[in-house]
Amino acid sequence: MQGPLIDTLARQGITRRTFLKYCATLASMMALPPAAGRAMAEAMAAARRPSVIWLPFQECTGCTESITRSHSPTLEGMIFDMISLDYQETLMAAAGHQAEEARHAAMKENAGKYLLVVDGSIPLGRDGAYSCIGGRSNVDILKEAAEGAAAIVAMGSCASYGGIPKANPNPTGAVSVSDIVTNKPIVNIPGCPPIPVVMTGVLAHYLTFGSLPELDEKGRPKAFFGETIHDRCYRRPFYDQGKFAKTFDDEGARMGWCLFELGCKGPVTYNACATVKWNGGTSWPVESGHGCLGCSEPDFWDAGGFYKALSVPADPLRIGAAAAIAGAGAGVAVSFANRAKKNVARQTHETLTVEDLEK
């Protein structure tokens, strides 16, 4: 394990064992086999720092908060040591024309090689006038910056899918990054906010393998979004046993039973909260007794109500087995027409949305 990165880390007093431990944890979070941690450590140790330009658009800064206030400053700090963050309005010391100059300089020096991170959606209404930086519209800046980028990371649900700004009635005409840029590889890291380690995981993958990780059909890294919240939920065994909380303060809730009937969107939400958790691994929504809101899915805000139970069991492909168990408790009163649609979907492998399930 040798190279510029491990030397830099060593100068800061970070030992090889610390780095190995970090990579083992990162590999675990990326759902890679345990042995991959060592391979990642080898490759990352030798990596060179890529230039990163971070553009904040129509956003609440929650994504930046999530990354910078993550639980282990030293660990996430390590990742920031692995990149050269050349522009980030909120974090950089420079302001005004100086900041814009830094961006232009980084774009010119690293043309075709820099990684572009975007958080926030892009408003198209009124020629993009709803959100401007230095007198230029977001859409204008995005197009310019995307031109020389090696790849784009859309941080958070807004950049990935439009998010809350795009929620009905979408007053600013907000769209996602992939609605505007179509000729560059784009990784979506949705979540409101996204999980910090997903960001570092994507960066680690980029540094380790020189490419973006494998993505699903919604542009999300499969390592973190390969399974639903429900599939990895520690309360899943209770779902399988048909034990459900019926209200937020009944015995079932106190016993930590499944929150399916209280509107948990875990079964249709792909994210890593159940394994990675939040606030330094302290807890996550379901562990705190509240169902998943589905914040990493497109249009989650308009998906029909956070406390409305999904009307069918989790996996439509295994509907027979699951219905037998859940029959006593879960709302399996699915309309006949809707069941027919699911049969069609199963045959054509069409993806079901939350709206389909709530009909």
Binding site: R17, M29, P34, T74, L75, P237, M255, G281
Partner: protein, 138 residues
């Protein structure tokens, strides 16, 4: 107002063992297979405990069942890590914690010695150079 005025509803602890999902016992068979593989080919392996749907009670049961062995290693590297041999030699319970003490990842490793315990040659070289320095100062 006395406390009696508040209708407190006390729940009796459930009769069956609480929180056990039944997902832990099959791991013992897997560990047995992995131990056989270690003996046959020397190949080390690990089970990532956070990748499995285990409840806190499952983990406690598993740890309890595997018991404690002769060696426990504690590593101070960006938070404490513990690498404890279980009552079955060659099966190690590895817990990584961050600086706040929260568990970041947990593995059961099947190896004669866990990789993390071994010193890296590069580090040994540094140590040896430091020794030379100490000697030259004598």
């Amino acid at each position: 107002m006395s406390l009696d005025a508040i209708p407190i509803h006390v729940i009796d602890p459930p009769s069956a063992e609480p929180g056990l999902s039944g997902n832990a016992p099959p791991l013992l068979r897997e560990l047995s297979e992995l131990a056989k593989r270690l003996l046959a080919s020397g190949e080390t392996s690990a089970i990532d405990l956070s990748a499995l749907p285990l409840t806190p009670a499952d983990l406690a049961w598993l740890q309890d069942t595997l018991g404690a062995g002769e060696i426990s290693v504690s590593l101070q590297a960006n938070g404490e890590s513990t690498l404890n041999e279980t009552a079955c030699p060659g099966i190690w319970w590895v817990t990584h914690r961050n600086e706040q003490g929260a568990v970041t990842s947990q593995f059961i490793e099947v190896a004669f010695v866990p990789e993390l315990v071994k010193a890296h040659p590069e580090d040994v070289k540094n140590g040896q150079e430091y020794l030379e320095l100490l000697i030259s100062d004598l």
